[in-house]
């Protein structure tokens, strides 16, 4: 229909890139980068995902509507994570009392 016929070599090349990235991410795990281990792992996974989406899933040749839909889905997932995380991250900003207060509560008139 609208999707062009992609040469098999292209798919093979993408696959080899994916293998390479898998080897890379496994190898990086054996190096101590502190918090950047997580960043690196996620960045590499993100690249692998992009390769699969663009080439294997054909989004490279897809209509604008499909692209908007793909982006929107990830954006919504990001919303879920970000807003929920914001609760956990900011809970410590309000110090909780260590023990119940020993002063008497205000009495009502």
């Amino acid at each position: 229909m609208s999707q062009p016929i992609v040469p098999q070599k292209t798919y093979l090349l993408v696959f080899l890139c994916l293998i390479g990235l898998t080897v890379l991410t496994t190898g990086v795990a054996f190096i101590d980068l502190g918090p950047f281990n997580t960043v690196a792992a996620l960045a590499i996974a993100f690249c692998k995902m992009l390769l699969v989406i663009l080439f294997f899933m054909g989004v490279r040749y897809s209509s604008g509507l499909v692209r908007v839909i793909v982006v929107a889905a990830f954006f919504w997932f990001a919303l879920l994570v970000a807003f929920t995380m914001s609760d956990y991250h900011t809970r410590s900003w309000t110090p909780a009392p260590d023990a119940w207060s020993t002063t008497a509560p205000p009495t009502h008139p």
Partner: protein, 216 residues
């Protein structure tokens, strides 16, 4: 062509849009458990790292490559349908199924290993020896949380793979009956998109479950 459509092009566009919308629901479905994972990983990093070190990283990496390979054979299957090569289509579909089966087999072995090491939440939780040494620093309770996520996430992923295998079998049977032509192979495309999505979930599961905190 179904009667509600004006032409095959409209039907194909509708089918494509439909499967992508379904994948959106899958992204949000897995997204929920990924979000929960993200919270607890942030809260209990040491426990998650300890749990992750119990997993067999080589097996996980190899399995990742197997699944990526199945994505390759899947897209080659779609391409074969696109050019009308029935024999190649069936071959690649079967290859995809074989690779998927290998993946599931390795996962079954890994699950069994968890029972051997007694790190299965609720059903067999009694870490000892090497496992206990890795898990104790982060706290055994929080480590149990990690393994809950391990089983829940890879389990959901495996269920999706099994469904995918069923869909692939259905495609093979239809292809053998000559159901697909270069002008009509939407089912192959649709299953392909589903299969690639399941692959993408694993692309993230591997580093998030197996590579936490490094192994230096």
């Amino acid at each position: 062509m179904a009667h509600q459509f004006e032409d095959l092009d409209q039907q194909h566009e509708a089918d494509t849009l439909g499967i992508w919308l379904f994948l959106v629901t899958e992204i949000m479905f897995f997204g929920g458990v990924f979000a929960a994972y993200a919270i607890y990983r942030w809260l209990y990093f040491a426990a998650f790292a300890g749990g992750s070190h119990i997993l067999d990283i080589k097996l996980g990496a190899a399995n990742t490559i197997v699944l990526l390979g199945s994505s390759l054979t899947m897209v080659l299957a779609v391409r074969s349908a696109q050019v009308g090569n029935r024999r190649a289509l069936i071959l690649f579909l079967v290859a995809t199924m074989i690779l998927g089966g290998v993946f599931l087999g390795v996962k079954a072995y890994e699950y069994n290993q968890k029972f051997v090491e007694h790190v299965v939440p609720s059903l067999d939780w009694a870490p000892e020896g090497e496992a206990l040494k890795l898990l104790a620093p982060g706290g055994l309770d929080h480590a149990q949380l990690y393994f809950f996520f391990y089983f829940a996430m890879t389990g959901l992923h495996a269920i999706h793979m099994i469904i995918g295998m069923g869909l692939l079998l259905w495609l093979v049977l239809r292809a053998r009956k000559d159901d697909f032509t270069p002008h009509y192979f939407a089912p192959v495309e649709v299953v392909g998109l589903y299969w690639h999505f399941v692959d993408i979930v694993w692309i993230f599961l591997f580093p998030l479950l197996y590579l936490i905190g490094g192994r230096y």
